[in-house]
Symmetry: C2
Subunit: 88 residues, 2 copies
């Protein structure tokens, strides 16, 4: 078994209202930022998974996303298993 | 100018208490997940930056992080400029 570092990015699905992202975007011109658009806010989770292979770690993380970390009605998730994780 | 898709991951710095992550981790065994540890929660932002080069987009996003999206006393940020972004 090895420990794999996993990053899960949870974002609202396209079309779901994102008041936090809209508020950030509206504030940008007053702060001097131009050319930034389409701001969407979401959540990020990092954790370590004990698994035999990177594919097994990815599968465990995706199962966790589906059952616990996201609301699949309104949220999408992207799971990234860090390539550099070594055996523990 | 081209539009570059940017992902910003904001995470609490090491050593800063993360009650949300700790609560998730404590709930995992009851849900049947084993071998998952070190859960840390954070925020994710996605937006589009108009810039001449990927490096300029990265610099603009890092400036935005420093001045607006993160509290550098307790948070770290990671900026990723999507490689696949095409000219707009």
């Amino acid at each position: 078994m090895a420990a794999y570092d996993v990053l899960v990015e949870v974002a609202l699905r396209p079309g779901i209202a994102d008041p936090q992202g809209a508020t950030i975007e509206r504030a940008l011109p007053a702060l001097g930022f131009t050319g930034i658009s389409g701001v969407r806010s979401g959540k990020a989770f990092r954790f370590s998974v004990d698994a035999a292979t990177p594919a097994a770690a990815q599968a465990a993380a995706e199962d966790l996303c589906r059952r616990f970390l996201t609301n699949p009605v309104i949220e999408d998730s992207v799971v990234t298993v860090a390539a550099g994780a070594g055996p523990s």
